[in-house]
Amino acid sequence: MDIDRKNAGQPDVDISALRKASSGGDTPRFWRGLDELADTPEFRNHKENEFPHGANDPDAKLDRRDLLKVMAASAAFAGLSGCTKLPTQKIVPYVRQPEEIIPGKPLFYATAVTLGGVATGVLVESHMARPTKIEGNPDHPGSLGATDAFSQASVLGLYDPDRSQAEIHDGRIGSWAEFQDELSTALGAEKGNSGSGVRLLTPTITSPTLGDQINTFLKAYPSVKWVQYESVTRDNIREGTKLAFGEYVNTVYRVDQADVIVTLDSDFLTSGPGCLRYAREFARKRRVEGPDSKMNRLYAFESTPTNTGAMADHRLRMPASFVDDFAHHLARELGLVVGDVIFTPPPTREQFAWIQALARDLERHLGASLVVPGDQQPPTVHAIAYAINAALRNFGKTIYFTEPIEVSPVNQWDSIGQLAADIRAGGVTTLLIMGSNPVYDAPADLGFKEILPKVPFSVRLGLYEDETSALCHWHIPQAHELESWGDARGYDGTATVIQPLIAPLYGGKSEVDFLAVLNGQASKPSHDFIHDYWQAQRPNVDRFDAFWEKTLRDGVVADSAFPPKQVSLKADAAMQVTPYTVRGLEIVFRPDHTVWDGRFANNGWLQELPKPLTMLTWDSVAMLSPKTAERLGIKSEDAIELKYHGRTIVAPAWVTPGHADESVTVFLGYGRTRSGRVGTGTGFDAGWIRPLATPWIGGGLEVRKTGARWALATTQTQSTMEGREPIRIATLDVYQKNPKFAQADADENPLSLYPAVKYEGNQWGMAIDLNACTGCGGCVVACQAENNIAVVGKKEVMIGRHMHWIRIDRYYEGGVDDPGAYHEPVLCMHCENAPCEVVCPVVATVHSSEGLNEMIYNRCVGTRYCSNNCPYKVRRFNFYLYSDWDTPSLFGMRNPNVSVRSRGVMEKCSYCVQRINAVKIEAEEQDRPIRDGEIVTACQQSCPSEAIMFGNINDPNSRVSKLKANNRNYKLLEELNTRPRTTYLAKLRNPNPEIEKTPAV
């Protein structure tokens, strides 16, 4: 475990002194971390020294003699670097030219990536048959052209050199043929008792074809038990619908129809099926074009701070186990609950007034309101939410139901418990594990690590030879989603055929292949299973070949979305309660924002993506509120021991403003012991203290300080802009009275020593609507994939050397206990008066004729003056050879249109100049102007909430010009007169006047 006993990065902060200072108004309005609020010496050091440790490795010791030697040597070698000769290269054309492939031109294929079985439609960019970039599929209802960080990062997952590359049989390399023999022997022995000793363990299956194959298998062996399990299970959601309607159904929201939205501890904007679409619909209801525009209003009941809570106009902070009762209070205000079913301490007077005001607001919006229960909340909360939605006449308007998208919806936690019991009882002779990793992520008290070796014949199909594979007799390398045929359903049931972009890099087998072997159909190609299934489903299609081609081309199977289903709400839905049993400190388990349940642990892009509210990378933490931390005497980065259900684990503490008091949140997905060279050993395994009984919320946690410190890598205080009010916020009311509030200090005619440049033709610019940004981080990974940005690792992140060209700053506003949290993406501003350009001694950063601030790598000598002079702190320096120039499998992943940077050069956002050039060339060849919206930057493309707009600001009719003409538009650090091309649209909140009094303008 990586516990740094001597020197953690974050300083100790006296919270009570801060609280006093902030109530007295002695602190800045916006702040990024408690250490900024306290203005500690460590924070000042971060602020004043962009790279706190200079160019040296903090551990390196170099004396004067060695320094002189190195200087002399580098002077000598610097001269020699000009004497290189291009190596002789080979051109290897095809033997037979495939149709459609034109070298130098990418092709895009429609397919889907899945998370928890649920598909998001994507288009994959393929260069000479190498997939390099994922983009959203505009035709897919769950994507609408956007993507999340997980799907963006799946390209790195595909090329990951740590993926398993061979069949492993009891620790030795085996073969696929040998495996088939052994399997058929094992299954043959079971034939007599119709497979009663066989178990098939899979993740959630929404794939109709896989479902069909499994059913075939179950028909042949009727006594086989099929177990579905995900550690981030959606059991509570399923059980909630059963509680409310008596059957499992799939819930779909229509956020675009809702004017008032209430979340019951839900992060529906950035997590869960359909979140991309929901974020888009939500943001569209917040597009404020002028003082007459309307906005929706979001209320959040919340324990752990989430992106959705940060977007909320009103946020009520409470322990997760209180949400059930608070929902009942709300239901009672709406006249739904009679009698007393409340278990927790009653709300305070202010909380009560809040709930009453919310109830009145909901009643004013019958049929246009929406209550969203949280994924981790117990089924009763879901039942109450449905009851409230029904009472508010939202069914069919803002919420509707369909058949379940799962092939076989079951209670997964019950099934995994049953499986463990069966193994313990010796009733399992053959265990076939398809993808799942129960040794790592099944509830700890089931003890899979101990019981799995007891199974006489166990098989694991998996992407990595991980914790589970190590204990199975057979490990079969799994083909990545981008390598295999398959299908899956989206959030509303829309099916997508998953098509391979590349033949399996490491000889993996797809899930379809694996099930084919079980059914004795090993010789049938996996493509045929998918094709034949859908052909059988569409008997009335005239020419199925044409239908099939269209399906592959579009990325959706036509008419496959489930129609809305009539449900009947049980009369007592709102009366169901989960008795409040939490005693003592509450513990909340959550999927991690970047590695989810651990499946992405070996993905460097996701590991290094700062988590939205803590800005932490490479680690998971135990979050607790400032007040609770104070009571327990815990500070951020203290290594604390968590004891729950008799198990203990050591975790780093993170004091999180806005977290519920008397509650600790821990995140799944870390502490992997066999995930590969990136993921193994990062963070701590919260799953170790997660029992079968309480998968998400429990009470009775014991916390003890160990006295040790655990250094964490957070970017929250790096790249600061010195508190110059970089983010501007007002309420809708203030905005209506003073529409130019964001431009109060704007200077119409700023003076400059430099003559103004006149731009003919195109002039690029960007506008970012802070009202829309949810801070999900999809753009950060999209940029990383598009621009070949390197991963640097935890140590380097700690000293401010992360390489992201776009970062999402998070600002807090208000007191330390419950501040507002706001996100602001910051990338190169492409300043007209760029401070970086004038200080470069070798003219490696210059202005283009279209206004771009260009960075020329092969000219850069690495003085870093430019970065020093950049007020926005968006330049990134390659202190080491961060790009991997050695691993062959990663060569294929890179965007061939962007240079891979080497050590010693500066880099930064280029506005995706390779995309600008590609469109420019196409338009010039066709002798036409570039159309508005034709050039889409990678960040803009991935953004689910359409917060980022890029285009020609010389064209007054372009969408970006129109946004810049909006009176919310402001420039970051305008007083410096850098004249940035990237501008921001101020954020607006729409508070309920009954709850929040509008300050006088």
Partner: protein, 216 residues
């Protein structure tokens, strides 16, 4: 006490100081000269190929169009190299037993590609696009030289940045009518400047010297 240094030290120190300066200057000049030689630039060095393909024969004598083999030159950044199949269109009919064509037949027979030696190469940080140059009236032979006279293909130009900029700064010296772009025997007219200027406005050719035009 005797002099520590002999009188000659004065001369030696002068010679060595000035000599060092001169030596560095000579070295710098020599490096520059060496960098211009065809040893470094590969200019006019015919590169050995697995099959001694003659552009002189195919283009100069038979009159094949460039695009017959380099088929993506008008569509893509890459001009494209012909697949073995393209060779076999003719060579399954003529010269079917010629010994020098055996690698081509073997490639087609065994489905193993032919590994040609690259003649015109740019560093990895340069992003050149064929299609836009062709579309704007830059002829093939302007950069690739008298292809119709090359028995074994050589590099005609250094492909150094200063060479690129010659044309990017004054395209009028090199442009030709679009109809002549693929003409391997094109000779620029005497009044090239006048023609070039006319074509520049007709084809909307701009002098692109932004760094990101080629580097990104």
């Amino acid at each position: 006490m005797a002099q520590i240094f002999h009188r000659s030290t004065n001369t030696i120190s002068r010679v060595s100081i000035y000599g060092a300066v001169i030596l560095i200057a000579i070295l710098g000049y020599a490096v520059n000269v060496v960098n211009q030689t065809s040893y470094v630039t590969e200019v006019h060095n015919a590169r050995p190929q697995p099959v001694p393909f003659s552009h002189k024969h195919h283009v100069g004598e038979l009159g094949l169009d460039c695009r017959y083999c380099h088929s993506s030159v008008e569509d893509s950044s890459s001009a494209g190299m012909p697949a073995t199949q393209t060779c076999m269109v003719c060579h399954s009919q003529i010269w079917t037993s010629a010994a020098i064509l055996e690698p081509v037949r073997a490639s087609y027979r065994d489905s193993t590609p032919i590994a040609w030696t690259r003649v015109n190469a740019l560093p990895d940080f340069v992003y050149f696009n064929h299609s836009i140059h062709v579309a704007k009236g830059v002829g093939c032979t302007t950069c690739h030289g008298p292809v119709a006279e090359m028995n074994i293909t050589w590099r005609e130009q250094s492909l150094y940045m200063r060479w690129c900029l010659e044309c990017h700064n004054s395209p009028e010296k090199y442009l030709r009518p679009k109809s002549e772009v693929f003409n391997a025997f094109y000779k620029p007219p005497a009044d090239q400047e006048a023609l070039g200027n006319r074509l520049m406005s007709e084809y909307k050719v701009r002098k692109l010297t932004d760094c990101t035009t080629c580097h990104r």
